[in-house]
Amino acid sequence: MNEAQSRYFEDVCEGMELAPLTKTVTTTQMFLYSAITRNPHRIHYDEKFAHSEGLPTVLVQGPLQGAQLSAYVSDWMGAGGFLKKFTYSNRGMALAGQSLTLRGKVVKKYELEGRPAVDLEVWEENATGDLLVPATATVFLPSRSTN
C-alpha cells in the first residue's frame, strides 16, 4: 500500500493475509546498517571471521530483519495507522544474498484503549520455508465511522 493511503479498520478481517514480499539483503545494505546502528560485530561484515565461526558467509543482523518486518507492517497499515507494539525473535540465521520472504496475517480485530486495533502475526522465512523471524504487531487503524 502506498504510505499516503490508509487502511481502514472496517476493511480488515481476522484471518486476512498480507501480500508476501520477497527481499534479498545485500552486503552493502548490511554494511550501512552496521554503520548507522554502530554495530561492530565482525560476523556481519568480515567473511573470514564468519568462516571461522562455521558460517558460509556473513550473517544478516537480527535487528535489520526486524526493521524490514516493521516496515512491512507500516506499509500494510498505511499513513493513517499507528504501530503501537512490535516484537520479534531471531530464531534462525539469515545469510547475505539469501532470498527472504515476509508474510503475515491479521489474527485479532478489537478495541484497545478505546481505539480500533488489530493484532498481526508477521514473519520472515527463507526460500525453503524455514521460519527465521516470527513477530507480532499491534496497530491502531483509522475507522470510517470516526472520519
Binding site: 548507522i36 537480527g62 535487528p63 535489520l64 516493521s70 507494539k85
Partner: protein, 142 residues
C-alpha cells in the same frame, strides 16, 4: 557462566541524541525503505539507532563482562507512545532488567530495557532487548 549477575538493575547514565534528518535518511536506505515519510518521522525500529548511540550497547555488555564475540541478538520488543520526529532531542535511558541462563549456563540472556523521552512530548516509547551469550560447554572450562 560469564555474565555478572550483580549487574541486574545497573543503568547507564541517560544520554541525549538529536534525531538528525540525515540519520533518518541513512537508516531508511540501510533497511531498504524508500518511503519518503520516513525522512520526517522515524521508522519504528529507528529506536535501535538511538539506543546504540554513545557506544551504549557495547558499554552495557562490557559492564556485564560479556565476550562481544559470543553475543547474538535474540529478541526485541518496541512499544510506541508517540512518533519520534526529526529534530527531537531524545533522552535515552538504558538499564539491565534481568540476567538468566538456560541449558546449564551454555545460553545466557541479558534483558536490556530502554526508555526514550523528549523534554516536551514526554515518553516516546520503550524497547526491551534480549541479548544471547553463547558460552562454551562446561567441559571446556578449567
Amino acid at each position: 557462566m560469564a555474565l555478572d549477575r550483580s549487574r541486574i538493575g545497573y543503568c547507564l547514565p541517560a544520554f541525549t541524541v538529536t534525531v538528525e534528518p540525515a540519520a533518518l535518511a541513512a537508516f531508511a536506505e540501510a533497511i531498504g525503505d524508500p518511503d519518503p515519510a520516513c525522512r520526517e518521522i522515524a521508522p519504528p525500529t529507528f529506536m535501535k539507532v538511538l539506543e546504540g548511540q554513545d557506544n551504549s550497547s557495547r558499554r552495557i555488555m562490557e559492564a556485564l563482562g560479556a565476550d562481544l564475540k559470543r553475543i547474538l541478538h535474540a529478541e526485541q520488543q518496541f512499544e510506541y507512545v508517540a512518533p519520534i520526529r526529526a529534530g527531537m532531542k531524545v533522552s535515552v535511558a538504558r538499564c539491565v532488567a534481568d540476567i538468566y541462563d538456560r541449558r546449564e549456563g551454555q545460553l545466557e540472556f541479558a534483558l536490556i530495557e530502554t526508555t526514550f523521552a523528549d523534554e516536551e512530548a514526554g515518553v516516546l516509547g520503550r524497547s526491551r532487548q534480549l541479548v544471547l551469550v553463547r558460552n562454551p560447554p562446561r567441559s571446556d572450562e578449567a
